[in-house]
Symmetry: D2
Subunit: 329 residues, 4 copies
């Protein structure tokens, strides 16, 4: 792809919403304005691209949104965009508005769609990693992850009040179907006694042994953080019963944190990260990049091919697992 001049771009959010998406949109819009590039917002992700649900955005359009959770451009799944016809329509909608390039904010599903679309129509697309799950390869952090960790830790702090007032054991399910990052970090942060993550299956015997040992060491209440994708934690009610049967001295309770983890005003870290990545995405287009995600590694901005962000598994953070084992003693 040759380095054509960019005159007008479109930006959309896709997949699950994440705190900081608004801050990222704001940074895209303001860098576009700063560089004298036109900017259009697309509502409801790829579906809005197919249906031409567009809105002109200038620097003032995005005021007072940096502190808001969710995404004012909304997000949705799009069956239409998975078809050749849908993509063709989307491309025509962009061309009719003289839009030269696209910035997409979302997770790996979003990038997969972007990659296909960019290659099919030779239109530059840049991705910004926005998902609370931190499960995208090639970037140290995704937008929304830090906020979700704080939300989880604050919720567990509240539950600990009750746990320690009643000598109870709480199983707390947090998000993370494939990645244990939220469970591992929030578990360490909340002072959990045990943390169950999909990347590592120590088995229920190990868990029961460990809880019994805790009890003997003088602990009268316990918090166990469970990633929703963990092998023995997937069926959390069954797990609760198994523990209750084996540890009758505790009263075992289950809490599923659910959707509160996706919302809330973004943390400072997520707002700054979103601002940096939003600015960088526009920069990347101007530099002639396409089919890459802008990410952060070791505090520096990096461009990563979409292909390298998708699939496979992130490495397990063994140092933090060791820390978790030690500080929960």
């Amino acid at each position: 792809m040759e380095n054509k001049k960019i005159n007008k771009i479109a930006v959309l959010t896709s997949g699950g919403d994440a705190p900081g998406m608004n801050a990222a949109i704001r940074a895209v819009v303001r860098n576009a304005a700063y560089q004298n590039i036109g900017c259009v917002g697309v509502y409801r992700g790829y579906q809005g691209l197919v249906e031409k649900d567009f809105i002109e955005l200038d620097a003032r359009s995005v005021k007072n949104i940096i502190n808001r959770g969710g995404t004012f451009l909304k997000s949705a799944r799009s069956k239409d965009f998975r078809t050749k016809e849908g993509q063709e329509k989307a491309y025509q909608n962009l061309k009719n508005e003289n839009i030269d390039a696209l910035i997409v904010i979302g997770g790996d599903g979003t990038f997969t769609g972007a990659s296909v679309f960019s290659k099919a129509f030779d239109i530059p697309v840049i991705g910004i990693p926005g998902t609370i799950d931190n499960d995208i390869k090639g970037t140290d952090f995704t937008i929304g992850y830090d906020t979700a960790l704080n939300t989880v830790v604050e919720a567990i702090d509240k539950i600990r009040d009750t746990a320690s007032s009643h000598d109870r054991l709480f199983l707390i399910e947090v998000m993370g179907r494939d990645a244990g990052d939220i469970a591992l970090n929030s578990g360490v942060g909340a002072g959990a006694e045990e943390i169950l993550i999909p990347e590592e299956d120590r088995g229920i015997e190990h868990l029961l042994e460990s809880l019994k040992k805790s009890r003997k060491s003088g602990k009268t209440s316990s918090i166990v953080v469970v990633a929703e994708g963990d092998q023995i934690g997937q069926n959390i009610n069954k797990l609760s019963e198994d523990i209750q049967d084996n540890l009758p001295e505790y009263e075992v309770k289950v809490t599923v944190l659910g959707h509160i983890q996706r919302g809330g005003s973004p943390s400072c870290y997520d707002r700054v990260l979103a601002s940096r990545l939003g600015v960088s995405a526009v920069d990347a287009l101007i530099e002639g990049e396409s089919n890459v995600m802008v990410g952060t590694r070791q505090k520096k901005i990096v461009y990563v091919d979409f292909d390298k962000t998708i699939g496979g598994k992130k490495k397990l953070d063994k140092e933090l697992i060791r820390v978790a084992d030690i500080v929960s003693t």
Copy 2:
């Protein structure tokens, strides 16, 4: 009961924990110290009374606890205290420590136990209403209720971010087995479209009608707050399916807020209320009262016979139900 001089009192927390219980204990301890009355804390509610799990408390013992959720004296159920033998043991434990009177912090179950004990052994007992459910008659507010409302509203604010980003309908279950106070107030506070409470059964048809009307009026996302004791909301997953079948244009999701509602640092209101009631409970003992709860009505301290706090139903707040109907349009 004649007005005997009180030289030493005991204080305990019982039933579900509530934010502000620590502030109430602190106020009891400090007014006792102020009036030159000895004070003993009893761990784990009535069970600690039976097992003589006591701790001497002076003004310094309760520093830096006013802002903490839960109860540092812990709470527990006690089968022993329901027996004549258990109560006899409890009484002997108090007598052996020269304790003249008892202050209990909790809900209606706590007061029932207190009433029986006080009458059986002619020992003065004062109750302080501490429960997030606000389901005690004779007091306008119970300790912990205001904090729980804020916790619920903050959680729903987060969920609304996601709801409005995705055009979803969320069913959110909040505490309240018999009383809809939490659901009604948090529902109004969070801007819920519908609120389902046990005191009022409008039926599922009414709910579906109303949601369809909302949708037609231009709403693309909706929050429905459901008290756990509501007739059609009790089985929240079944309700979710019924709505989904009838409103296919929404994506329906369920979140059960659960135990986060009991914890957290108490709100200013709860800390002040707990301080006032804790001070009043000691005053009441000095004034020769027994078998009463100290409560607040119309911003003034009142003494209410235990018998009048228990059983029956609080009146439904019809004005607020009308407000809820109007502001959700």
Copy 3:
């Protein structure tokens, strides 16, 4: 004034902003819609009335604002409205838009202006008490007060971390030029050792005596909450020096909380109160009322003549002052 049919109303916010004002506007707009009454928002208070800075509002215009601090209609001082000419212009602007009545949200200055205007032009005006200071007679609570208390208490909780880590004495200035409500309630809620309020002048000697006594009793850090209008606290830096000279064993620090007290997402209590009062204000107009504030007393809605809300002093809450003295021992 005879009971004319109300077809269209205007609503404005005036004076210092307070959390919950948006919730009140929303309730006004939605009750108007519910009653088939037109509704216009006026920007920047009375100044917008003079300059005809109006916006049509329907039920959908006020979505997603219940949780936002400040006022989306903005507030401003208006010199023009203090003149006969300004008021005349304001009245003509209302008449030209066929607006029959006005609802004003603000404090006593707002009500004074409303009262003059209503009498001069025979136009019905209803007031809603919105100010963090809780200094309006005739209502138990004003919108924003509960939120401000929580903001202050959370800030002092943070400062206490530092105070107790360093054995320091902190003087913390909170809002309240004439009324000590914020200082007294937040001081009790935050566990302050001393609280200085304008309604009561115990003198600096009493303060120093009390702090010395605290120190002797084993306290190593202290929080003193000072209302900005307090006699000895008005010059807080001078007070700091006086204390430092007399209590060299403490390190004395000053923090002025300032404008963070006015902002923030409203508490559940303020959102519910604002919803109730907003609905009631429209009801009052329909009932033919004018020149009254809608307020809350003993949990019930009341109408209070503007004249009775302004001037004079609220009574000092002696019970709470006694509680403050006792729980700070």
Copy 4:
């Protein structure tokens, strides 16, 4: 220094307190317990070392502190420790208790003292960076910094409610005598129009020009974040007057955030960082290290000589300054 077996260690906190210090102490204590090493806490920093104000700590001693701001070991300045005699006493106190090594948590002043002491008495000392200022070389993050950023951003969010309700310009002073990290990051996070930092002096003319341009572009309210050490921001009241004189259309207000920035429950990031560094500090001692700080670079644990952490200046983050300029347009 040869690799002697470590049997017993001491841990202290020194300098300004920071959120996460308790989490770091907890991790030190628990890794010591895990490795069968004795552990003693020293109260009030180096002063407690001189006065032998010690407490034995085991794994249970540090329960329920991970979520608390401040430091339960307290912190203080020590003149005594600056003298040869004071250091000699401190060393004897350690020897008399058979303490082999010392872990100090604090900032550069803390490390300077540690370095002198370690070299003079041939005792292993490891440092953990704990300060909200993030002004220590050799580590990407210090404990407490992330929490302070969130505290500042939440406070500015509240002030923005008021600013935008009244068309005001707010000057907000944040901590940072030498380092602009807090101002720059919180300024970007809070959506500030201008950010004044000590590392960069653009002069008041540039500031006024920029504010005028903002106003012309349609902004009606503005937030300017000022690091306390900034050249033109040092005298913030003078700066306020200068701006008011030049921009009469704004109402200019000043807020000094002050000590709320040091306190509060630590963020998840700070709790995890503190846990990792606390564990690493004990590991480092076991590995025979001394006179080093344990820090984090690019998400990995590093050991950095004390000499390389002190003095000089951290580099200015030019990328973020550019982002700040762009997103504030």
